[in-house]
Symmetry: none
Subunit: 173 residues, 4 copies
DNA sequence: TATGAATGAGGTTTCATTCAT
DNA sequence: TATGAATGAAACCTCATTCAT
């Protein structure tokens, strides 16, 4: 692993653990075992580092989540569950950034685009069953997933999560 | 309105608008048109100010929300909707604080207790219809409301909110 | 002497001695025996401090220089000489700022206005003797004074200065 | 043009445009399209680069200026004028360095020696006309030229310069 | 000769908090 | 109760310089 990647991983870890403003570049550098200066030769500034952190992790995560065995509500929700368990930190950080009023627009854009992708997916999957109600049903399903996600990142209990996702699957298929 | 209240309102407004760490005590004092010193004679420190801000606004908001015409899912969700529209800032701030890793435990406790109250309410309202599934249904309904809330504070559109809440009411009654 | 004045005097002294960029705010604060923070509560930033330093010293100096016994080339040049000896540091700093490519426009404006005042004065004094050549003669006289000034601040020798100013007076009256 | 020369030219350009302290070695290297490392293999450090910049440009400039058609005040002043117009940047930089309190002694020495040469020249040219006053007249003439130079580099207007130099020539021959 | 990753010291600025008045 | 001058720690960022390749 090269030093730039080390910095990104350390930043992700610390931003998720302590928040963006609350994490100093110096702390990131020390955690990655590099100098502060090197951080600034790889990233224009702290905000740029955040952007790259989100960019590189979100894409990786989304790609993973979008690989299905068979294209269905069941496997989509199962994927979401797996991803949530595996990427809890990134996801918590993403929510934090979305809700934080001072998150740079470039980062918000990245996070929003991912959400749009998901709602499209839900819509097309619910079309057969709900016809003209498909869109609002998709929105509600996404709301459920958001609510479950929020609760899980705040209080991570895999059993509870499992339970809720399974129950949701049953309700929707 | 006395000066202490002015400080609390300014703090609420600015914390919601810019975030806790991002709001300086000086900015709050200037916005409330008092001196920095006075702020520190009313509140032990910035964290204490936050606690009081949340304490005083959350209780007020919850009380309001819990006044029903008739005790039913419909009027509860309608109340939630009204409250969401009216108290968007406080609610956004509450979510921000809940998700933020460094929010003091005393504040988290306050916010959590409110959530517990709500889930109790949902449970008892859904018992008649869902029997032994009442608890998980209540959790899912809360998840829906959380998801809808998240989306609304990020992208406040009263029509969309109305639409979703109404559809949810229909689904559950 | 209050602390703000102390900061201004220390800044003047150190800017003149070491240059603007080369003088750190920390050094100024230590020299003035105040904290760095106080400097920033009196002045918006380092550039603002420079502006105030120049503003307050230039006006004081100009006022002094413009007080004549009798309005004549002789007493004007004598005043210039006195001022030069007394305010060597400020004058050296002024030249440094004028010639430095990154001096803020606000500071340049202040310094320029002082020069314009001087050239007006020279012109009116030389009018009687030089008629339509008064303007260019005033410009040359100012050039002489600038040249003498430059040499004096670089190599301060009161006798040489005295000598040159006296010779110049003889040439022009 | 080899890379070392490119570095020197870039440094001259940037030092003149932005000041010595304000120009980073990295900026110079990028402007010269070489690496930072190469700069440090040609020059011991940034100060050394400055010394070489001044050394190589000043000598070239002086040589040029000292080539006369006929040895007279007129042609000397004309040469000075030509040189001033052509080498405005170098000259502005030289003045900046002369006046700057932290310019390394080695650079100051170079710049001073050039001035001494000039005053010798003026003295010998004015001897015939001014006898024992030749030295002080030479000093004043140099002061005039310094003053005119200062004004020109701060506010470059070829017509004004022309006018002043011509008027000075008339006064002295 | 040539590169640029890497370092670490130091500079500017902000801000929570205290305290004399 | 009320003020704001004052402090000092800590944050972001730059840059001269070195060194492995």
């Amino acid at each position: 692993m090269n030093k730039k990647e080390k910095i990104i991983l350390s930043a992700l870890h610390l931003f998720a653990k302590n928040g963006f403003t609350e994490t100093s570049v110096d702390t990131i550098a020390k955690h990655a075992k590099v100098s502060k200066g090197l951080t600034y030769s790889h990233f224009k500034n702290k905000e740029d580092l955040l952007r790259v952190v989100i960019e590189s992790t979100i894409t990786k995560m989304t790609d993973e989540m979008m690989r299905f065995e068979n294209f269905s509500i069941t496997s989509l929700l199962q994927n979401l569950k797996m991803s949530l368990i595996k990427n809890k930190d990134i996801i918590r950080l993403s929510i934090l950034l979305l809700i934080h009023p001072q998150t740079p627009a470039s980062v918000i854009k990245l996070l929003d685009s991912q959400k749009l992708e998901l709602i499209e997916l839900f819509s097309s999957l619910l079309e057969a069953k709900y016809n003209d109600k498909a869109k609002i049903e998709a929105e509600l399903l996404l709301a459920i997933m958001d609510g479950i996600t929020m609760d899980y990142v705040l209080n991570p209990d895999a059993d509870i999560l499992e339970n809720r996702i399974n129950y949701t699957i049953i309700k929707y298929v």
